[in-house]
């Protein structure tokens, strides 16, 4: 798919796919819905189907979409920033730091809320941000960031936090342990729809800022020497991309927990279809990442209904074999 027109058409297709997913997927669920009741709800009549559709399923699908979109976009950015196709939004320890924050407040039993966000969400977000700040300062060198040190620092911190999380597990009682394990599996239950709207500005700003770096990321993803010789202020690009991709990841991990594989398989799949140019790859990842997680979540809600399986298990069960297939196919 070399022509830019074809690529734009494909992105348009992904956009309509996402819109269809947003309105079709909420109709599927353990409780069958009546279309007439949904339409009545729009006319101001309180109906059961309308309430389930608009107040329960749509917010949840929206959360799935922004989570999947953010993770896929962050995956693209981290892969090109670290020049490593196996990088994920979690490679640099963002999710482990977040998990440590979440597990810590579960163990301590602290409960307050701020602006609609729960203690666990706030603490997880702070854990993520503290981790990336630490990784950044460890990897900073004169005039640039060392991506090797960054990966090493991120992986090391992940293991270190992993040990601390295990320690907290060991000290926790059964109720706390269950809550911790459940958080680590990732989930898209929307307790308070307000936090969705409150997160959107930060998410959208991050998307736009990352899009604006697309051409620089193209060149930076080949080599630092080439990027410098083409006139790119590489430290600035590295800083911006790292900061906003980390913010995105930190925020969605705090709200939905560490959902795996989206940030890995969506970018890889799309590179096979529309190539490597970030100007197309980034919007495509955003759109397909959103649809993918919304569909996975529907599977999670319905496959063992009325039991709600954590969506992280579904993305891993679909993503793992898919990724192996990609590797075998290319090898």
């Amino acid at each position: 798919m070399a022509e830019s027109r074809t690529k734009l058409l494909f992105i348009l297709f992904l956009f309509f796919l996402l819109i269809s997913v947003l309105f079709i997927v909420p109709l599927i669920g353990s409780q069958p819905l009546h279309i007439q009741q949904i339409i009545d709800y729009l006319k101001g009549i309180e109906t059961t189907s309308g309430i389930i559709f608009f107040r329960i399923r749509i917010p949840r699908i929206l959360l799935a979409i922004i989570t999947g979109a953010s993770l896929a976009l962050a995956g693209v950015v981290f892969q090109s920033l670290l020049r490593n196709p196996l990088a994920t939004p979690y490679t640099l320890g963002v999710s482990s730091g977040g998990a440590l924050g979440a597990v810590l407040v579960i163990k301590l039993g602290v409960a307050f809320s701020w602006w609609g966000f729960s203690t666990i969400q706030i603490s997880a977000f702070m854990g993520s941000i503290a981790t990336i700040t630490l990784v950044y300062f460890l990897a900073r060198r004169q005039r640039r960031i060392s991506v090797y040190v960054m990966i090493l620092a991120g992986v090391t911190l992940s293991y270190f936090f992993g040990a601390m999380i295990l320690m907290l597990h060991f000290l926790a009682d059964f109720t706390e342990t269950r809550q911790m394990v459940r958080w680590m599996m990732g989930g898209l239950d929307v307790v308070n729809p307000e936090i969705l709207w409150r997160s959107l500005p930060l998410l959208f700003v991050s998307y736009l800022v990352l899009f604006s770096q697309a051409r620089m990321l193209n060149i930076l993803s080949t080599s630092e020497e080439i990027a410098l010789s083409k006139g790119i202020a590489i430290e600035r690009v590295q800083k911006i991309a790292f900061l906003f991709a980390s913010l995105l990841t930190g925020l969605v991990v705090a709200i939905s927990g560490p959902i795996g594989f989206v940030g890995l398989i969506i970018p890889h799949f799309l590179r096979l279809i529309i190539g490597y140019d970030h100007r197309y790859l980034m919007p495509a990842s955003l759109l397909l990442g959103g649809s993918f997680l919304a569909i996975c979540d529907t599977v999670a809600r319905t496959i063992l209904a009325p039991v709600d399986i954590p969506v992280g298990i579904i993305t891993a069960l679909i993503g793992g074999p898919f990724f192996v297939w990609l590797l075998v196919r290319r090898g």
Binding site: A2, S212, S223, I226, L228, K230, G231
Partner: protein, 259 residues
């Protein structure tokens, strides 16, 4: 014009360049030779600001190199590394279009002019037939032509090449230097090439700078520098210099089997 004045550079404790002073005039085709570890690549990277000197002054067109913005510098100088490898499999045309970056607005897509300049650069380096090929499918020789085209898409006045033909066979080496020769003659581009292929340098460069242990030990017109006494001392092997029967340019002939 490039001017080095007492430029000193070191990696950690080891001085690599010791008070280097020289001037390159516009339109010169200069070969930089010397044994491994002499500081040749470091010198190129200082000109391109991939590295920053510890002491001394570097000037481009009589203005301090420091005073150029990243994009300004990229419009003056194109750079071809020794071997280009990338994890991500861009097409050849995408790689060449990256050379248009210093002329583009931050958010804009490639203009018709960008694409035209990129294709023109690929024509000059004889690689326009590779435009939609993925970079991972190219041979070493083809890849170097694409990278050269990417540097030319910057419309530079100066080209820096760091052992550009070290991985190529003799046919592709000659082809590559013939393209450089043409660029120098037709577009008056200043060319600095670091190389171990002394015979290629002797055929194509008009000026040779020899570096050893971070210092210039010889600098001048090719015929004056390609002398047996100088080269024997530099490379520490016995050798002869003869005249090429077709063009009388010097050819280096090591005494291959003497001990």
């Amino acid at each position: 014009m490039i001017r080095f004045e007492k430029v000193f550079f070191r990696y950690q404790e080891n001085p690599v360049l010791k008070d280097l002073t020289f001037t390159i005039a516009d339109g010169e085709f200069v070969g930089i030779i010397g044994p491994n570890g002499a500081g040749k690549s470091t010198m190129l990277k200082l000109i391109n600001r991939l590295l920053i000197p510890e002491k001394g002054k570097i000037a481009l067109q009589n203005k301090p190199l420091k005073s150029y913005s990243h994009k300004e510098l990229a419009r003056w100088i194109g750079y071809v590394p020794q071997d280009f490898s990338t994890t991500f499999n861009y097409t050849a045309l995408e790689i060449v279009l990256m050379g248009r970056y210093p002329y583009q607005k931050a958010l804009a897509f490639d203009s018709a002019e960008d694409i035209q300049m990129a294709l023109q650069a690929m024509e000059i380096t004889d690689c326009d037939h590779l435009r939609s090929r993925e970079i991972h499918t190219l041979s070493g020789g083809e890849k170097q032509l694409v990278i050269l085209a990417s540097a030319l898409a910057q419309q530079p006045r100066i080209l820096l090449l760091d052992e550009p033909t070290s991985a190529l066979d003799i046919k592709h080496q000659i082809h590559f230097y013939q393209i450089l020769h043409k660029l120098r003659n037709e577009q008056k581009i200043t060319i600095l090439t670091v190389t171990h292929e002394v015979n290629l340098a002797a055929q194509f460069c008009e000026r040779i700078i020899i570096l050893k242990n971070g210092m210039i030990v010889a600098d001048g017109p090719t015929a004056n520098v390609i002398q047996p006494e100088i080269l024997q001392h530099i490379y520490d092997i016995p050798l002869q210099v003869i005249s090429h029967p077709l063009n009388n340019l010097p050819v280096i002939l090591p005494d291959f089997r003497s001990s």
